[in-house]
Amino acid sequence: MATCKYDWPAAGHRELIGKSIERIDGPEKSSGRAKYTYDTNPPGRLIAKTCSCPYAHAKITSLDTSAAQKLPGVKAVLVVHPVGDEIQWAGDEVVVVAATTEEIAEDAVRLIKVEYEQLPHLVREEDLKKAEAAGRTKEGGESTTGDPAKAFADPDSVLSEGFYGLPVITHCCLESHGSVTMWTDPKTLKTWVSTQNVSGGPGQFGQGLRFKKVDVEDNNIETICQYIGGGFGSKFSPDRWGIEAAMLSKMAGGAPVRLMLDRNIEMEMAGARPSAYAKVRVAAKKDGTLTAWDSDSWGTGGPGPAGHPPLPYVIEPPNRHWKHTAVLTNIGEARAWRAPNHPQACLITMGALDDLADKLQMDPIEFLKKNVNLAPPILRRAYSEELVKAAEMADWKKNWHPRGDKTPGHIKRGVGVSLHTWGGRGHNSNCNIIIRPDGSATVQLGSQDLGTGTRTVIAITVAETLGLPVDAIKVEIGDSKFPYDGASGGSTTVGGVSNSTRRGAVDALDELFAAVAPSLGVQPADLEAWNGKIQVKGDASKSLTWKQACAKLGVKTIQTLGKNPGPCHLGDSGVGGVQIADVSVDTETGQVKINRIIAAQDCGLIIDMKTAESQVYGALIMGVCYSLFEQKVMDETLGVMLNPNMEFYKLATIGDIGEFVVHMMTGPGYDERGVIGLGEPPVISPGAAIANAVTNAIGVRVPTLPLTPDKVLAALEKGEKA
């Protein structure tokens, strides 16, 4: 195979790539020194609070902010929704107030008098007929491939029918949404934003402010985010309340304004993962070959449609039909939630296939192996290998049994399997690589590290390329003044930043070689960077230390721009992944306990094994959260969220999670694909794997997540097998 100048080093020539390397910002975080948006306290910083609508659907009939305006310490009051505006969900901000202290801002909010005319609302969507009767549904797409009717009618086929679903959940980022903004002069805006999109900040602020008739050029806006306390898809812009903070700052003479949403408001309106419910029919030949799929699905993502789960998921029989209906509800708007629409599609599909395998009296892993050729060609190899690997790690042959654990007693154990996919191609990325005469090396780009390890991946890539240790590289990200880098969403960051920094570092090294070659009496092409030296290929005795080499630059500094996309194959799209859950269910209490979750995951060439594994562990734990605990509970009558807080919006704690075994697929077949993103894929399967494991344990399906004790007991009562 022809080599290309920017290619990743071959397996035997990687000092750092693929090794398990500690995250470089770990000490900053564990010591509490890392400064987040919420921690930003410029002198004179005001605090803003929102006056929010308590109703799910209402029209504002009167509004009086005069008492709030007069309260000493209040510096700016901005009406977001004037009289006559219609509010579409509870928690939406009506007025925002900036004051010298949080207490005064809260008092001011209490002094605002708003009157509403309540309008009819819909906040629950499980009952599609009810939503249709209320006129709150919208076609969400339909498609037919092959001849499903004929395939289902085939007398030789085995059929399975079922109902599967999962509710709306929130992101619950530990750092709430918001920003600190200040006008350093009447034309210049400085913003600190808890954002997954640092480079996009100036354009987003500019557009939002000009829409509100505030004159500003994108050029004069800076967005900073050194550390972000979680995003998961919910923080791609400064949001409406970021624009409002900038307007409050303007009204307050440019003083810094901090507007971080209160937890309850954040949970009501700053992001929700759409629900999905589906009635499914599937059919296979008696030998297990899948022949047909039919699904009628619905779900809600708030007042607007939110796409549809890609059904059937991954394994596509030749004859298939799906139809989706969007239910329009008065809850906060949907936002991308780690792997948008995939966990939903995965739970529905893998649940239906698991039920069909049971009808066929087949081991579900054998059933998936039999049908893996119905997956996209690029993924078949990974799935085949991952199914074998995961089964081995889970001791599947020993632990799997036909449905319903026959062990005496009330603790029933079961295992379940699921597989998933994601794209993850690297995003558009630009970086500066700077090598100075004293040997210091810097990389700059307007990226962000959500905790995925972006900084570390950048440092490793540049260090590997320049033949230096990781700590020799100064990584500067988190500021829109640096070269443009895409938003961190859809598992695109590590692919993007590793590819751009690889290209930039190779070019920078070429310039260094050109400066050094004469003194070593060779051509630049004869040189390589290795182990802190610039040396002649094949003759390591002819070398200069990195510092000596850089000194040859004289007064010149090397600066190159690395880009992605660009030449040479450094990355790809499309990963697989197989997970197996092992659970115990107490049939007296209905409690589900996670024993173990096993994950076999591919993502092309892995830059840092440690943070890659952490992504998978974290995703599995998030998976446990949404499988067992999480739900945005809406009150049908009042139209409000009943658990907009962290004591009743349940997340797993350290004792709830069980054990994990993670295996990253590496080596031939994986490495040569180049770098592919990893953030989303491992969070997709846990719901399906855990639900299937519970079914295997108790012999009946609990149709919807979360698998709470009440639902487990109800399923047991309804079913017969347990």
Binding site: G229, F232, R263, G451, I654
Partner: protein
């Protein structure tokens, strides 16, 4: 809001006992959830002495001793210790997340006992030695717990991390040789969203080993 308060104390006097002479439960009106961390603090509160009076609702002088340094502030009695630290003193390692004693991100130590700073009033903290995460690694050198967090990657976004490090540090000061099961029980008062619990378990086990049972400067 009015609350009963002892006569103002002079800074530095009677540092250890002032909480027990404040009517925390009755006066502060703070709802106490089932939090084990704050619970230990509340349990030590007793009825006010006969000389108790009222302060507030306006700002009152408050002296806070944080990481060995004395800070004189003027705060309304309703200001929480967390807000005082973060917004008045710019000591921001303790994070504001749930703001109602559920998640542990605001964990600090009061006289080496872990408390949720979001549910302690600043005036309640007067007279106590407050240690925040900044006070653990004051010289810039990581503590064994912090080092173990880095080594075992017990952090992703890092927003829960300072609270977790505080809780782990305080826990290891009372239990030098915990089992994995005990760790799960005792650190159930801190919530992580990114899913770093596995790393935390390993970090605590490692830090306990590094400490070797000695009650050193964790």
């Amino acid at each position: 809001m009015s609350r009963k308060k002892d006569r103002p104390q002079k800074a530095g006097s009677s540092e250890k006992s002032s909480l027990t002479r404040r009517d925390f439960l009755k006066g502060a009106g703070v709802t106490v959830s089932g939090s084990m961390l704050v619970g230990s603090t509340i349990a030590s509160a007793a009825s006010p002495g006969p000389e108790a009076g009222f302060v507030g609702p306006g700002p009152v002088p408050v002296t806070l001793r944080v990481n060995g340094k004395v800070h004189k502030l003027n705060l309304e009695p309703r200001v929480t210790l967390l807000d005082a630290l973060r917004d008045r003193l710019n000591i921001t390692g303790s994070k504001k997340v749930c703001d109602r004693a559920t998640c542990g991100a605001c964990t600090v130590m009061m006289d080496r006992k872990p408390v949720y700073a979001c549910t302690v009033l600043a005036i309640e903290a007067e007279g106590h030695n407050i240690t925040t995460i900044e006070g653990l690694a004051a010289d810039g050198k990581l503590t064994p717990v912090m080092e173990a967090f880095v080594k075992h990657d017990a952090q992703q976004c890092g927003f829960c991390t300072p609270g977790f490090v505080m809780a782990c540090t305080a826990y290891l000061e009372r239990d030098h040789n915990p089992t994995e099961e005990e760790i799960s029980k005792n650190l159930g008062g801190n919530i992580c969203r990114c899913g770093t619990y596995r790393g935390v378990r390993h970090a605590v086990l490692e830090a306990a080993g590094m400490k070797g049972g000695a009650n050193g400067n964790m």
